[in-house]
Symmetry: C2
Subunit: 353 residues, 2 copies
C-alpha cells in the first residue's frame, strides 16, 4: 500500500484562529504518525489583517489557489476593526459558495465531563447532527435599499431556494441518518413564510419518499428551537435551511454545553472541491494571543477532516482522545471551568492519543 | 367616577382555543366584579371550521367588524385539515396586519412552582420580555416560484424592512425597558444577512441615541439563541424582527418552562385599533374537547388585556392569582405534571383571586 499523503490548505484567519489551528495541527500530526499517513500543510494569510493592509480578505484568485488541496482547515474569521459583513462575505462565505461546499455538517454531542446547562441530562440524551444548507436560502446579497437616509427608507433581502439546492441537502441528511439512528427532522416555517418554506416541505416529503426506512418529523423553527431545550433526545439528524441551520447549530451546542468546542464541516459531498473544516467559535478578540483558547473545537473539526479524507481510524482516535481529556476534570481550559492553557490542553490530548 | 365598560371581541378559533377562552373569560369576569368594571363579550366564529363550511376563515368585512371593539381576545388558529399557511394567512396574520398591531409583546418569566428545564435557575434569573416586530420583515407574501414542478424549480421570498416599521418597534422596546430594568438587547444577523440586518442595526443605534439611560447589547440570532439557554439572566427587553422574534418567543418560554402558559399581546401602541391578546400555544388537536387544556396562557393573556385597557390593579390581581396557583403543587394541569382539568384549574385561580 502506498504511503497516504494529504495536502491541506490552512487559513488560520483572525484572533485565536491562529492558536487553535496550530494546536489542531499538532494533534493531527501525531495522529498521522500513529496511523501511517502524512499531512502537508500550506498556510494562507487571508484575514482581517490582510484586509487592513491590502483592502482584500483574500487575493482575487484565492479560490483557485486552494482548489487543488485535499481539504481546507480554517481557524476563525472576523475582527472588531472590520465590519462583519465585509470580512465574512469577503472570505468565509465565498469559500463556502465558490467551492460549492453546500452541506454544513455540525455534530451536537454531550461529552462526559462537560457541564450541561440542562437539568438531568446525560451524554446518551444529546447526540445529534445539524445538516445545514450552506450556499443558498436566506443568505444572499440579493436585495438592497430604497430612499436611503430618509424617513421613507426601506431595505429588502431575497431568500432563494432551488430544487437543486434543496434536494441535495436532503440527500446528505438522509444518507447520514442511514449511518446513524435513521431519523431525520426538518426545520420549517411553512405557516409564516409563505413561498420558500412550503416548497422546502414538498422537497422534504419527496426525499422521505425516496428513503424508505428512515423515519421523519417536521417542526416549525420556533417550536423546534423550544424542543432542542425540552427534548434534545428526540433528534438524530436535523436538516435545515442556511439561516435555520445557523441558529440551530449554535443552539444545539449551547444545550450540550459545547458552544466553545463545536466543529463545523463544510462539505462538497461529491468531492469535486476541497471541503473545509472549522471550529464554530469565532476569533475571540478578548482572549486572542493569550494562549488560553480552548483547542477542542479545532481538534474536533480536524477529526472530521481526517474522516473526510478517509482516515477513519485516525479520526476516531482523535475524537476519543478529545473525549478522554474532556472527561478528566483536571484537563480543562478556562471556558470549561478549568485552569489549563492551550498548550497544556494539547499535551493532554496528545497523551491520550 | 363612571362605571368602566370594555367591549371585547372574542375569537375562540380552533381546538382548545374554545376551552381556554371560556376559562379566561370566567377569570376576567371575576376580576371585573372585584375591581368594579364590566366586560361585554361578542363572539366571532372565525376558524378552520368556518373555512371548511364557507371557504373563508373570516368574512370579507371581518376586520371592520372587530375594529369598533376595545380589544380582541383570541384562542388559537389552525387545524390539521386546513393547511397552516391558509388558516394563518386567512385569519391571524391579517388581523395583525390590517389592524396594524405592529408590536408583539411576549413576556418570559420563570414562576415559582414551574419546573425549569435549566439546571440551577431560580425565578429571579428569568424575567424578560421579547418585543417582536409583528407586521413586516421576513413574513410576507412577496415572492413566488419559477419552473414549478420541474427540476429547475426555484422559490423565493422577500423580507422587507422599513424605517417606519423598524423605528416604531424600537420605540416600543425602549419605552418598555424604561419601565423595567432599562436594558434592551437587539437580535440581529448583520454578518450573514446583508441588506436588511445592517439596516436593522443602524435603526437600533439611532434608537439607542434617542434613549439616554437605557443600556443596550446586540447579538447575532445564532449566538443569542445560545445565550437564552446559557445566560437567561442577561436579558430585560429583547427587540427582534418578525421571524427572529417568533423564534425567541418560543425559545424563551421553553427555557422558563412555560411554553404551555406563555401569552402574547399584539399591540397597536397608539390605540387607533383594538389590540389583540392570545395564548402562544396552538389549538392542540390531540387534547381538544377533552376539557384538560391548561388555561394559564389565556388567563395570562387576559391579564395583559386588562392592563392594556387601563385596569392595572385587576391585571396585577389576575397575574398574582395565577402565580399563586402555579406555586401550589396540587393545582396543576397535566402539561405541568399535575392532574387537574381546565375547570379545576380555573376554580383554583378564582379562589386565589
Ligand atoms: C402560527 C404562526 C404563523 C405564528 C407566527 O409565526 O407568528 C405563531 O408561531 C406565533 O408566534 O404567533
Ligand atoms: C459568521 C457567520 C456569517 C456564520 C454564518 O452565519 O454562517 C457563522 O455564524 C457560522 O455559523 O458559521
Amino acid at each position: 500500500m502506498n504511503h497516504r499523503r494529504h495536502r491541506i490548505a490552512t487559513i488560520p484567519g483572525d484572533g485565536i484562529g491562529h492558536e487553535v489551528i496550530e494546536a489542531g495541527q499538532e494533534v493531527l500530526e501525531a495522529a498521522a504518525r500513529k496511523f501511517g499517513f502524512s499531512l502537508n500543510w500550506t498556510e494562507f494569510d487571508w484575514s482581517c489583517d490582510r484586509f487592513q493592509n491590502t483592502g482584500q480578505m483574500m487575493p482575487e484568485d484565492g479560490i483557485d489557489l486552494v482548489r487543488e488541496y485535499d481539504a481546507i482547515y480554517l481557524g476563525a474569521v472576523g475582527w472588531p476593526t472590520v465590519p462583519d459583513h465585509v470580512s465574512l462575505w469577503g472570505l468565509l462565505i465565498p469559500l463556502r459558495r465558490e467551492l460549492d461546499l453546500y452541506a454544513n455538517v455540525r455534530p451536537v454531542k454531550l461529552f462526559e465531563g462537560v457541564k450541561c446547562p440542562l437539568a438531568d441530562r446525560k451524554p446518551e440524551d444529546i447526540d445529534f447532527v445539524v445538516v445545514r444548507e450552506n450556499v443558498e436560502g436566506e443568505y444572499s446579497k440579493i436585495g438592497g435599499r430604497l430612499y436611503e437616509g430618509t424617513p421613507q427608507e426601506a431595505a429588502n433581502q431575497v431568500a432563494m431556494f432551488t430544487r437543486h439546492g434543496t434536494d441535495r441537502i436532503m440527500e446528505v441528511a438522509f444518507d447520514l441518518a442511514k449511518r446513524r439512528r435513521k431519523h431525520v427532522t426538518s426545520a420549517t416555517k411553512s405557516n409564516g413564510i409563505v413561498h420558500t418554506m412550503p416548497f422546502w416541505d414538498e422537497r422534504f416529503k419527496a426525499a422521505t419518499a425516496r428513503h424508505a426506512g428512515v423515519e421523519t418529523a417536521a417542526y416549525h423553527i420556533d417550536i423546534l428551537a423550544a424542543h432542542f431545550v425540552l427534548h434534545p433526545d428526540w433528534f438524530d439528524v436535523v436538516v435545515a435551511s442556511n439561516l435555520f441551520g445557523d441558529i440551530l447549530s449554535d443552539l444545539g451546542p449551547a444545550v450540550a454545553g459545547s458552544i466553545g468546542i463545536a466543529p463545523s464541516a463544510n462539505l462538497n459531498p461529491a468531492r469535486k472541491t476541497p471541503s473545509m473544516f472549522e471550529p464554530v467559535h469565532g476569533s475571540a478578540p478578548d482572549i486572542a494571543g493569550k494562549g488560553i483558547a480552548n483547542p477542542a473545537a479545532a481538534i474536533w473539526a480536524g477529526a472530521m477532516m481526517l474522516e473526510h479524507l478517509g482516515e477513519t481510524q485516525a479520526a476516531e482516535a482523535v475524537i476519543n482522545a478529545m473525549a478522554t481529556t474532556l472527561a478528566q476534570n483536571e484537563t480543562r481550559t478556562a471556558d470549561l471551568g478549568g485552569t489549563e492553557d492551550t498548550r497544556q490542553s494539547v499535551a493532554a490530548v496528545l497523551a491520550a492519543l
